[in-house]
């Protein structure tokens, strides 16, 4: 074993752990902070907030993004909101309740201490973002408004119309921009990480490729933070942005960072169904719509009538029927599987019979169209632009799609990976959501990591390196990593086959979706594990990348990303195969009760699976971090 999984959870009762850490962690004094350089890769919520805060503290920060501007990351597309245990509604919310809901929502597969810290700092996030000028929705009296979200029985979700992610990202981007203007952060845009360099067991820096000139170069630092998002695009079709990829996390994994729970992927229940084969991505319709929309399918699968003509008695409001206490607000994994069952049973709606209705007619009657429009107008407009149908006139059609990945690089309590000095924040790490993420928690986690956790934990590592020399980019290891990267990109250009990177990505995505998507079986996963390597061989022989390596070449960029998705895809299937239970987003058909609900196996699988790279993507080593629950006790997750 080349690493040990020491979670470094602080001592003390759950509610005191974070304070205990902050009281006892090592600090770097303000005058010494400028002696340390921190490389932050990715400028989404987690990366931008981390880079800005580290620079405010006085560290030298280099920030890297493959976008043209740090304002573009896919955090921007989050619609619904951000959770915080403010209890402004006086409906019984508390840090403990948010913590409890998140552990339960994660199906008892997350690390309790991390989740508790997340719930604690959630309140600071709202304060911070309001101070920065995020225009959250307000009541008429000027106080902040809240709404409710799946998996919770309180209203704790703060929102800015249907663009909460946009407003939060712009808030973090503006703090980052301020630091760039002040010289605290040096920004490198249109630059992609292509390798992580580890020297003497410590992260020494990164190798990057300039997406405009193709130039490969190195950056060294005292610590490296990867805030590079999730890997949902492994499925090809997902709600992720087109450029989201796993490359940074995967390259770190290949250099010794354990990859945890890759099979925990979230399928979001409310996306616009696929319309055709050429579709490039799926679009999410915020889960917040389920506050006022009712999900149904016709009782008669062959009902030829339009939605409006089908009388109440002939509609199956299946979520309200099966889960009366949570109804349309059942958590994502449960709502997704229920939709899949409805469509698989033949009751699907729409031209391809691949969706279910999300109907607002009851809300129009109860609240009136203007109120509904105020809440969801921009989502309704977006739906109409994509489908050509107006949700004011007929129900939306929705179907689940890959949306978020709970798995990611393994990190300890301090967000450090198994490589000392290499940190991972936001969706890219595995830490807080267990096997399923609750709605409005991704924004919360990204900002918690970047604003409040990392800036506090990183000094505990850096303090030990004060006034000690670190290798610079002239070190042999950097040169070697640069050459390896150059060779890799030259190889893609020289294969000279017949098919584009997108072709292989689409085929790979189909395999992963079919066998490692919403429902998995041993047989299917075995099949995927024979098909993916075969397709990977073909990729390596028949790939065609046109253009050159000396100017912008999006085909070449894509080839590198698809290469990494292939290797990740094998690990996802391996992990799903080895996890012989159903939990959260990981549903193994063999492990379900008579009602079709997930059956966890707490005796054998209450652990994190952290995978070690061995050089062969088909033969990784599996390590385990046992999960202990001091406060929240195992129970069957029921939303009935």
């Amino acid at each position: 074993m080349s690493f040990t999984l020491d979670s470094k959870v602080p001592e003390g009762p759950m509610a005191d752990k974070w304070d205990n850490f902050k009281e006892n962690g090592k600090l770097v004094n303000p005058a010494n902070k400028r002696k340390f350089k921190v490389l932050v890769v990715g400028t989404g919520l987690a990366g931008a907030s981390a880079a800005a805060t580290l620079a405010e503290l006085g560290y030298q920060v280099d920030a890297f993004t493959f976008h043209d501007s740090p304002r573009r990351a896919h955090s921007i597309a989050a619609q619904g909101g951000i959770n915080a245990a403010k209890n402004y509604k006086g409906d019984g919310d508390s840090v403990h309740r948010l913590f409890y809901d998140t552990v339960k929502g994660g199906d008892f597969r997350s690390r309790e201490s991390n989740v508790h810290r997340l719930a604690q700092v959630s309140v600071n996030i709202i304060d911070q973002m309001v101070a920065q000028g995020v225009p959250f929705a307000r009541e008429y009296g000027g106080q902040l408004d809240n709404r409710s979200f799946g998996g919770a029985q309180v209203s704790r979700t703060f929102y800015a119309r249907g663009q909460t992610g946009q407003q939060l990202l712009l808030g973090a981007y503006q703090q980052l921009a301020r630091q760039i203007g002040l010289g605290g952060v040096t920004l490198y845009n249109r630059i992609e990480l292509v390798d992580v360099v580890v020297i003497d067991g410590r992260a020494a820096g990164i190798v990057v490729r300039d997406l405009v000139t193709g130039e490969v170069s190195s950056h060294s630092g005292h610590a490296v933070v990867l805030a590079t998002g999730g890997y949902g695009n492994a499925f090809f079709l997902s709600t992720n942005a087109m450029n989201c990829n796993v490359t940074a996390a995967w390259r770190a994994h290949r250099q010794g960072a354990a990859f945890a729970n890759p099979c925990y992927t979230q399928i979001h229940p409310t996306c616009i169904p696929q319309a055709d084969d050429f579709q490039s991505k799926l679009t999410l319709m915020s889960e917040s719509l389920r506050n006022d929309g009712r999900v149904w399918v016709p009782k008669n699968p062959d009902d030829p009538r339009g939605a409006a003509e089908i009388p109440e008695a002939e509609r199956d409001y299946y979520l309200e029927r099966i889960y009366p206490s949570y109804g349309n607000l059942a958590p994502r994994d449960i709502a997704s599987r229920a939709a899949k069952r409805a469509v698989d049973s033949g009751a699907g709606v729409g031209p391809l019979k691949n969706g279910v209705y999300l109907d607002f007619s009851a809300a129009f009657e109860r609240l009136g169209q203007p109120v509904v429009k105020e809440r969801y107008g921009n989502l309704f407009d977006m739906y109409e632009r994509i489908t050509g149908e107006s949700p004011y006139e007929m129900p939306m059609r929705i179907y689940p799609a890959s949306h978020y990945t709970m798995g990611g690089l393994w990190v300890d309590y301090e967000l450090m990976t198994t490589v000392p000095g290499l940190y991972c924040a936001g969706e890219a790490n595995f830490s807080d959501h267990g096997a399923n993420r609750l709605g409005a928690s991704a924004l919360m986690q990204g900002l918690a990591d970047g604003y409040f956790v990392l800036p506090n934990t990183i000094s505990n590592f850096l303090a030990g390196w004060l006034n000690k020399p670190i290798p610079d980019t002239s070190h042999e290891a950097f040169k070697q990593a640069e050459n390896t990267a150059r060779d890799r990109f030259s190889r893609y250009l020289s294969i000279g086959g017949t098919r584009s990177p997108d072709h292989f990505h689409r085929e790979l995505g189909k395999i992963i979706w079919d066998y490692c998507g919403m429902e998995r079986t041993e047989e299917g996963l075995e099949k995927a594990l024979s098909e993916i390597p075969a397709l990977y061989d073909e990729f390596n022989k028949d790939l065609r990348v046109t253009g050159d390596g000396e100017s912008t070449n999006q085909t070449l960029e894509k080839a590198g990303r698809v290469d990494d998705f292939f290797q990740l895809g094998m690990l996802m299937c391996k992990d799903a195969l080895e996890r012989r239970e159903s939990c959260g987003g990981h549903f193994r058909a063999e492990y379900q009760d008579e009602d079709g609900e997930a059956q966890r196996d707490d005796d054998n699988f209450a652990h994190v699976a952290a995978w070690e790279w061995t050089g062969d993507p088909m033969a990784p080593n599996r390590h385990q971090e046992e999960l202990e629950y001091e406060v929240v006790h195992f129970q069957t997750r029921s939303y009935k």
Binding site: S49, A52, T53, H67, D68, S69, P70, R71, R72, H74, A77, K86, Y88, N124, D127, Q128, V130, A131, Q132, G133, P135, R138, Y140, G142, L144, A160, G165, Q166, Q167, Y173, Q174, A177, R178, I180, G181, A241, M242, A275, D276, F278, S280, L284, D381, M382, R385, I386, G388, T498, R499, S500, H503, R544, V545, T546, G547, S551, T552, N553, Q554, T555
Partner: protein, 257 residues
């Protein structure tokens, strides 16, 4: 499902910032009207790659109309013919069989072409770096409900904050001005109670940085018409008022203004 047939594309190709550019013609024989405009370009690119030609470079990412990465002048209109819609949300059902579609990059002196349809919009970031923020270091924020923000104020601020930073306003402007972009950010921040402390300093530094990079506004209103978020040109009036005040108001007496 319907299809749109026999589309002629005239696409701008340019190998680099200093290379000469030219239009290249391609024909799309048939495409579903459910396809998005960018999916049409994806299909074209896949065809180009598999026939050994270089794919057309264009910026895009979220394809949900929110990240602001996509651009494209389509038949001379920034983001194409559909009002309030970014290129990525434009669908082929908005076109007719037999149409010729001219696709160009943003054309503005401040946005040099990187390659084909991709331009460098970094000057927009310079404007934000100059003052498009509220200084609030992490950790010291008071309780979020301490300062009430009246709903009409929050709503007006949010209307301006919806800007996605795509640069369509600059591309559409005959002068290549960035007043709608800058006005939107200033209005977002300057309307809020939290934004008052830096209100005039912000107006001054942002406007002056804008003027270093971009042309001047002469009230054509093309920006508002092109904006995929339909941001009102009123934000420019708000900006102008605050910029003018920044020059004569005594900032020591800010609380008396």
């Amino acid at each position: 499902m319907h299809s749109v047939n026999n589309i002629t594309l005239k696409i701008w190709r340019q190998a680099g910032p200093n290379a000469a550019g030219h239009f290249e013609n391609h024909t799309i024989e048939s495409i579903s009207d459910e396809a998005s405009f960018l999916e049409m370009l994806d299909i074209l690119n896949e065809r180009l790659i598999e026939s050994g030609q270089e794919a057309v470079v264009f910026d895009h990412d979220c394809r949900e109309g929110i990240c602001g990465t996509c651009s494209l002048m389509i038949n001379g209109q920034a983001h194409g013919p559909q009002r309030g819609t970014a290129t990525c949300q434009l669908h082929m059902r908005k076109f007719e069989s037999g149409d010729t579609i001219v696709i160009e990059p943003w054309r503005a002196a401040a946005f040099p072409i990187i390659k084909d349809l991709m331009v460098d919009r970094a000057p927009l970031d310079r404007i934000v770096e100059a003052g498009g923020f509220i200084t609030a270091d992490t950790g010291g924020a008071p309780d979020a409900n301490l300062i009430p923000v009246p709903k009409p104020v929050a709503d007006a601020s949010m209307d301006a904050a919806e800007c996605i930073g795509c640069g369509a306003c600059v591309a559409a402007c005959p002068n290549g001005a960035a007043n709608l972009f800058t006005g939107a950010k200033l209005t977002h921040l300057n309307l809020l109670p939290q934004g008052q402390a830096e209100r005039f300093a912000r107006a001054e530094t942002m406007v002056e940085t804008m003027e270093e990079h971009f042309g001047s506004c002469t009230n054509h209103g093309e920006c508002e018409a092109a904006c995929p978020k339909m941001i009102s040109i009123d934000v420019i009036a708000t900006m102008n008022a605050d910029f003018a005040k920044s020059k004569f108001k005594n900032r020591k007496k800010l609380s008396r203004i």
